[in-house]
Symmetry: C2
Subunit: 578 residues, 2 copies
């Protein structure tokens, strides 16, 4: 990871490859890298689909090492959905492979003048870029099936589906998992549309012949990793809940807490929640020959992913994440686990963010386009997205565009991005994160569910305004740092609750890079990343007025607790006061 | 005009009417009234389609008097298209009739809880509000035909078509003309969607039994009016060009100047322009039994409107305005005058802004939805809007939404509103107005074509950056004032060029209200209006970054002059420095 690969897709005579040393980007990885490049190199008023925007793909600082859980990749750009800076984060194999190939970042620049579709192949021999129009409009699963015989069973792919080629604002970038399935997605904020605007269908990575990245102090590194894994296994969330049921373990928990947004955020509890809970879906997976406990990348020890088979025992989709189950489930009034898994598959196949897709369908249902609870209608709507019909174009623009198209007032978005699976009125810490995150409404940006609901890192009453700003601030800072390491965010539960696990993470970084990083250094890194992102957004025209929830969340109480979002604007404006 | 009528459409038990004295709004009319109410009463972060938004309908200060040209009405709201403050201005009969009925403003507030559709009848006896679901989804022409037998040949209507009922962001409010045709539209920025969100289909006005408004000094008023009319008739633009050919006299002029945006703003000159010029269309009107010289309201002496018949001599539409002819003509590569007139009719009938509609079609053509020059396809696309299909929902969201839906980079909008018929690179004064107007891209907000092209009020080279900020500033201030008087903006040519005509306008105001207003007072009024609007927009989250053209106008030269927009950002930021 000592070099940066730049590909100018708009160069005269065809794409031009440049490999350079890290220079001023030395010491950065993941989100710190993507946000530094976007903030420093992309004009803030650039059109997201224009030649001036860049797509930055960066493994984390510990990716490609033997460190457990280090397989997250950051993909950054100016977002076509929010108009602000974007880092979208994914599991799968790409981070490990790219890191072992030695690239701290791959940066797609410019824009081709033709409609040709390109594939980029990166391996130990270098970089090849080829026009391959036979790939046009292939869904992600079909694409990968077509590439496998050519590039073999070691390849890891980053690809877009038809949504990305059509430059839809919620288009994702798919990352293949250990079974070469395009199941992990950098979904939020439309990075797939930016990849599509650059004419790139797929980046095929292969690290055959490359070694594991070597730490400065291998012994200390191994020891730290051992303590890190022990810590993860010891914590009830990463050691038990997530492996057994995946992230969907949260359905029953959030529903019980009254913070499960139902019928397009009209209620906080869904009568059908128990039918689509993690417990039920994991049970179906076991029964039908799927697998509820599985890692999404090499080196994963939490193994929260899984495989969901249909009733005949055939692969239907990966085990859908909690936010996906919610977006297509309770939010749309749907309680059929097979339908939810099918929607997950279609989202992955066409290449769209499952959260914004589900919320867009919920908004469309609110507008009368289909009835809440109509699973077949929801499936048909996602097919429209895949086909690129006008209806698909509307939904593929996300919840915000769907709300505008159908004249809906109740549209749960911030900075144009759909809210995820936690009602901001009943889980107020999440409300603060949604409102103020540089990314638009995003649960991963500062996952206050920890203290609000799971009682990880103490307890802050989710129904009260007090303490939420401080909670969100601390989490947003820590997350920006963790997102730069390549570490899965699900390590955070153990890191927050167990000082020795936090120390193990610091020791991993220090042993690898020969540093003397302390907790203060991690906080400083997180603040630095957030400040770069805030600076970009300010230059793009964002103000404190963009750090607000839609006003109806302050006016309409959500049952069962009948609470509104009452964190004051002045308080929200203090989140980044440091 | 000594009272304000408020109708709370969301009141419990049904709409509630309140009539109150002017109070703090005394002395305001037209745009000064609408912007004062919106800025003062609507929370800047309110949802445009929510209960907190208001629709303010206000005749100008001189409307309802014998003063010539005083029939403009201002309709204000928070815009569903721009998210900022909006004053959309229309001719037709409504201003005169409403003023004679004594209302300085009608304010629709709140939002009904049901899907019922209301009609509001205002006459000398008061206000009646009735549910009439038989009017649902009627196009404007059909609606008026249905109302005529009931309300008679004195009624003047303000109505919405299906686009407004469906809350499309470019929905207009139609104002009937002297022949009770719904041909004049408050089109820009989607006021029709706000009226639709309040459940109001039509406001039927009848001033039978009401007298002309009486000036404080009738003799001075008559004398001033005489001088005012003489001045208008003496000026070549208002005395000759506009009466003979209507506003479409500009097609040949702008095309010759190389500032006629063609093929979605790719070129500045259209090969087919001469086929859709004002001269040609006026000739067809005369030949086919239409009428090229006609007033849109009682008291009009310029008579720039007209009637366009089809080749069989049947009414096809009003004489389309220059911006409409351009939006559907050169901008879409269409040079068939009958097709353009049909598109004008359909826009009026379904109730959409002709500018944003045409630019949306141009953007869709750029995306490959139809071919440039395909008139039948353009007509079909407007029918989609009328039918409310998904494609219609996209286009009915305007050029900005269409660009987002189809992933188009070259979208000529500012603050989400489509640019009109003057390329900002080749008519740079218009570029400054587009960029900085509180309204989004809007030619009427500061019509720099005067000095840039028509050499009215001196000459500022349209191809050079110098002097454009000063030009636009002066015009924006003057326009904000004129828009408050109820005077048609086409009086401006004579007012700018002929000091005695400007004095006649001041004398009209002074004689009517018993004031001693000077030119300085007019400037002060204009600045006050703009400051209120800027203040609202700032509170709604707008910054200097919103006072910019899309970046491609600074990068891509437009033929034939091959100029870019090169007025510096720092200069744009000085427009409102006073």
């Amino acid at each position: 990871m000592d070099k940066i690969l730049r590909i100018d897709m708009g160069a005269e005579g065809g794409p031009k490859v440049t490999v350079s040393p890290l220079g001023k980007y030395a010491g950065l990885g993941g989100r710190a890298m993507t946000s530094a490049v976007i903030s420093g190199e992309v004009p803030a008023l650039a059109h997201p689909l224009g030649a001036e925007n860049k797509l930055v793909i960066s493994p984390g600082l510990l990716s490609g090492t033997i460190a457990a859980m280090s397989g997250r990749i950051s993909i950054g750009c100016k977002s076509p959905l929010t108009g602000g800076i974007k880092e979208s984060n994914s599991g799968g194999q790409a981070a490990q492979v790219l890191a072992r190939l030695g690239y701290a970042a791959v940066i797609l620049e410019g824009k081709p003048g033709t409609d040709d579709l390109y594939k980029i192949i990166i391996n130990k021999d270098g970089v090849k870029i080829e026009v391959d129009n036979s790939l046009k409009l292939l869904p992600n699963y079909d694409l990968i099936e077509k590439l496998k015989p050519v590039y073999g069973d070691k390849m890891a792919c980053l690809s877009i589906g038809p949504a990305g080629e059509r430059k839809m604002a919620i288009a994702s970038i798919a990352c293949t998992d250990m079974e070469q399935r395009p199941t992990r997605h950098a979904g939020r904020g439309g990075p797939g549309a930016v990849m599509g605007s650059k004419g790139v269908k797929v980046i095929v990575l292969d690290d055959t012949g490359m070694a594991m990245r070597a730490p400065k102090d291998p012994e200390k590194f191994r020891d730290a990793n051992k303590r890190f894994v022990e810590g993860l296994m010891k914590h009830p969330v990463s050691g038990q809940g997530l492996p057994a049921y995946g992230s969907n373990v949260l359905t029953n928990i959030l529903n019980e807490a009254g913070g499960y947004p139902t019928y397009n955020f009209k209620e906080g509890r869904f009568a059908g929640a128990s039918k689509i809970s993690g417990e039920v879906m994991a049970g179906l997976e076991s029964k039908r020959g799927g697998n509820p406990t599985h890692g999404c990348h090499r080196g994963c020890v939490i193994r929260c992913s899984g495989t969901y088979n249909d009733k005949d025992g055939h692969f239907l989709s990966k085990q859908p994440e909690y936010e996906t189950v919610w977006a297509h489930g309770g939010n749309c009034g749907i309680d059929d686990p097979d339908a939810v898994a099918m929607l997950d598959f279609l989202d992955d196949n066409y290449g769209v963010d499952t959260i914004d897709m589900g919320v867009a369908i919920g908004v469309a249902m609110d507008a009368g386009v289909a009835k809440f609870g109509d699973a077949k209608a929801a499936i048909d709507l996602v097919h429209e997205v895949g086909k690129g019909t006008p209806m698909g174009r509307i939904l593929g623009g996300g919840a915000a565009a769907t709300g505008r198209a159908f004249g809906v007032e109740r549209v749960p978005v911030v900075k144009g991005q759909a809210m995820p699976a936690y009602d901001p009125r009943a889980v107020k810490g999440m409300g603060v994160t949604y409102a103020t995150s540089t990314m638009g409404a995003d649960h991963t940006a500062g996952y206050a569910v920890t203290s609000n609901i799971l009682k990880v890192g103490g307890f802050v009453d989710p129904l009260k305004a007090e303490g939420q700003v401080e909670l969100s601030r601390g989490l947003q800072i820590a997350t920006a740092a963790v997102d730069s390491t390549g570490m899965c965010l699900f390590t955070a539960f153990a890191i927050i609750d167990q000082p020795e696990t936090y120390q193990a993470l610091l020791d991993l970084l220090n042993a690898f890079y020969g540093l003397t990083l302390t907790a203060d250094g991690v906080v400083a890194l997180g603040k630095k990343v957030l400040s770069m992102e805030r600076d970009f957004n300010t230059r793009a025209g964002f103000t404190a007025k963009d750090d607000r929830l839609p006003r109806y969340f302050s006016a309409e109480p959500v049952p069962p607790h009948n609470v509104t979002f009452d964190v004051k604007d002045e308080e929200l404006d203090k989140v980044f006061n440091w």
